[in-house]
């Protein structure tokens, strides 16, 4: 079984937010009104944060794309009382909206702040992409999940694409990647199998120094950042 992971190159990221927009288009995440953004109630599955460091003459801004880290030792899986968040066999931390009771304990427990609460009823839309074809028979309601307000949601590593690719025998990481990796104009986001030594992500991690966010928390994230 593959173990999906993501490698993000700090050297290449320009902070254009294409990944955020692509994620919203792919997963029907509401765009949010200015009022909602001001109140911080607009959901994000993927976002790019800018971190300023230092005072004006020696000031530096760093851009960090923040998908869900899909930790091997995920605090959200640990604290979810309703088994709504769990690990799949391929390591993806998935959120089951039908089980979620909306207690928001996982948002509290997440060290990365990548989980969003659905404050209003999302609008149902048609999935516009021709490939991979949405297979609604065996995957239920994905892609474009039917979900309601009052549940917690987050990045899924576009698992509907990965499942479809594995079924069709396509190469994940080259032919099929997540929506954010696909949309990145600088090709800063790489996606692939961390257990496969020949995959692009494994080669990148072997070749360049990398970090993971808040490694001191012991969460073992599957999103790696290549340093500048």
């Amino acid at each position: 079984m593959a173990r999906w992971g993501m490698v993000i190159d700090f050297d290449k990221c320009v902070g254009c937010q294409s990944c955020s927009i692509a994620c919203k288009a792919e997963n029907n995440v509401p765009h949010g009104s200015p009022e909602e953004h001001r109140k911080r109630t607009a959901p994000f599955w993927q976002k790019v944060i800018a971190v300023s460091n230092g005072e004006y003459p020696v000031q530096r801004t760093d851009l960090i794309p923040m998908p869900c880290m899909h930790c091997d030792n995920a605090p959200c899986v640990m604290v979810c009382p309703a088994r709504a968040t769990y690990h799949r066999d391929d390591g993806i931390v998935i959120q089951n909206f039908r089980r979620c009771i909306g207690c928001k304990y996982c948002i509290v427990a997440c060290p990365y702040g990548v989980r969003s609460f659905n404050y209003k009823e999302p609008v149902e839309q048609e999935y516009h992409r021709p490939d991979p074809p949405p297979n609604r028979e065996d995957k239920g309601v994905w892609p474009y999940p039917h979900r309601v307000h009052g549940v917690v949601e987050k990045c899924t590593f576009c698992f509907h694409r990965m499942d479809e690719a594995v079924k069709q025998g396509k190469r994940v990481g080259e032919e099929v990647v997540t929506a954010c990796a696909e949309a990145c104009p600088a090709r800063a986001i790489h996606f692939g199998d961390l257990d496969d030594h020949n995959s692009e992500v494994s080669k990148l991690l072997a070749a360049r120094p990398s970090i993971r966010l808040r490694e001191g928390m012991g969460t073992h994230p599957k999103v790696y950042y290549l340093l500048k």
């Binding site: 790019v48 800018a50 300023s52 640990m78 009382p81 702040g113 808040r214």
Partner: protein, 418 residues
């Protein structure tokens, strides 16, 4: 003081006024709940930055009061201190009513309150590594145990009452320590994570329980025109002062350990930041300084009036928790970025939000109906217990929006369940 209990006929004017006021409050709470369900949880002032709003504050406040007052009832029924017998029964009754309010507050805080039953599917649908699931067992068992305890007390089976008292009190200790563990075991929140958080919660529970009991006893007896036993109230006040000191020591130790740990941003923010006045004025000032000044004043600590005044200040303690969600998130931003950056975190855009936020104010006002409802349940309890003699939970809880709220939950569940 000999305890004589008479049942009331419910025809007096004061009783009818009280019931009317409580019904109005319950209705306003129900309307607020429906509004929050339809409009979303931003009415609580919560956001993705501060996910837990007022209902959680209310929950731990009520659970603390409940567990604290049940622990106090053990003075009579377990340790055999006869001078507290008049209040022991009231303490158990308060525990039941307050835990009911706490469970209702949890349901309000859920995004999908109609799925509350999933929390009660112990072991079957629950992830037992979650403190929420474990606390579900604790709260449910607590409710049943306390009810049994009260029934035993009324039926006068003294031998069983003592055994049941031991079990119920141990369970109550577990309940509030479990509530503390919900917060204390979350490593992502620097302001919360602490091994002494369960003990701190326990101390807070007993402190606020004593304070509430003083207030309830004095108000009930005044309200029904009976004589207040001064010695009992004064000795309760002495007990309260000891508990306040214990609580303050625990809070001090908690803050100090956070001060010395690598991530001290959250604690610094709480003690010296924008909202530090909440901590210093409300928590330290109103909970510790003012009551202790009253209780240790040689002139005032002998009078019923001032002891109960001290108690009323002390009861505000848990409300202070509302500062916690905001400031802990600030700590999150600091810690999240400290992996690569050490300074200038506050200027970062994206995750580094202004903790607290001004948006919470309209949210709180929208919620005030419900909060008031729970706040004023105390007089309802007093009236129910003090004048009726035999406590009947069904009668008094009717006036608190609880039954109405639950009915509404079921109805919307039918409509909205997907």
């Amino acid at each position: 003081m000999s305890s004589t209990f008479v049942s009331i006929d419910g025809k007096s004017r004061g009783y009818k006024t009280l019931v009317t006021v409580l019904v109005v409050l319950a209705l306003s709470g129900l309307i607020s709940f429906v509004g929050s369900y339809i409009q979303g949880h931003q009415t609580f002032g919560s956001s993705n930055v501060i996910p837990w709003g007022m209902p959680i504050v209310l929950t731990i406040y009520l659970i603390g009061l409940s567990a604290g007052s049940l622990i106090l009832s053990s003075l009579t029924y377990v340790f055999g201190r006869e001078e507290y017998r008049p209040i022991a029964r009231m303490a158990v009754y308060l525990a039941i009513v307050l835990i009911f309010g706490a469970l209702l507050s949890i349901a309000i805080d859920l995004g999908r309150p109609e799925k509350f039953w999933r929390l009660l599917m112990f072991f079957y649908m629950n992830n037992m590594s979650s403190m929420f699931a474990i606390n579900g067992i604790l709260y449910g068992g607590y409710f049943v145990l306390t009810l049994t305890y009260l029934v035993l007390i009324f039926s006068g089976l003294t031998a069983y009452v003592k055994k049941m008292g031991v079990v119920a009190v141990c369970w109550a200790v577990l309940v509030h320590m479990g509530t503390g563990a919900i917060f204390g075991f979350i490593a992502a929140r620097e302001a919360w994570v602490s091994p002494i958080k369960p003990l701190e919660f326990l101390a807070a529970a007993i402190t606020s329980g004593v304070a509430l009991l003083i207030l309830a006893v004095v108000l009930t007896l005044k309200f029904t025109g009976r004589k207040v036993n001064r010695e009992m109230v004064v000795s309760l006040g002495r007990m309260l002062s000891v508990f306040i000191i214990i609580l303050m020591v625990l809070i001090f130790v908690d803050k100090m350990t956070h001060f010395y740990s690598p991530e001290r941003g959250a604690t610094v923010f709480m003690l010296a930041g924008q909202y530090s006045w909440m901590f210093w004025v409300l928590q330290v000032g109103l909970v510790a300084v003012v009551p202790l000044a009253i209780l240790f004043n040689p002139r005032l600590n002998k009078t019923v009036r001032y002891v109960s005044l001290g108690g009323s200040f002390c009861r505000r303690r848990h409300l202070l928790r509302e500062i916690l969600p905001g400031n802990s998130r600030r700590g999150l931003s600091a810690a999240l970025l400290s992996r690569t950056h050490r300074r200038g975190v506050g200027e970062g855009r994206g995750v580094c939000h202004n903790a607290g936020g001004d948006d919470s104010v309209p949210g709180y006002t929208g919620y005030s109906g419900l909060a008031l409802c729970a706040w004023f349940e105390v007089p309802g309890v007093i009236a129910g217990e003090g004048t009726r003699g035999r406590a009947r939970p069904g009668r008094s809880t009717r006036c608190r929006g609880i039954t109405c709220g639950r009915r509404n939950t079921c109805r919307s569940g039918n409509i909205r369940n997907h």
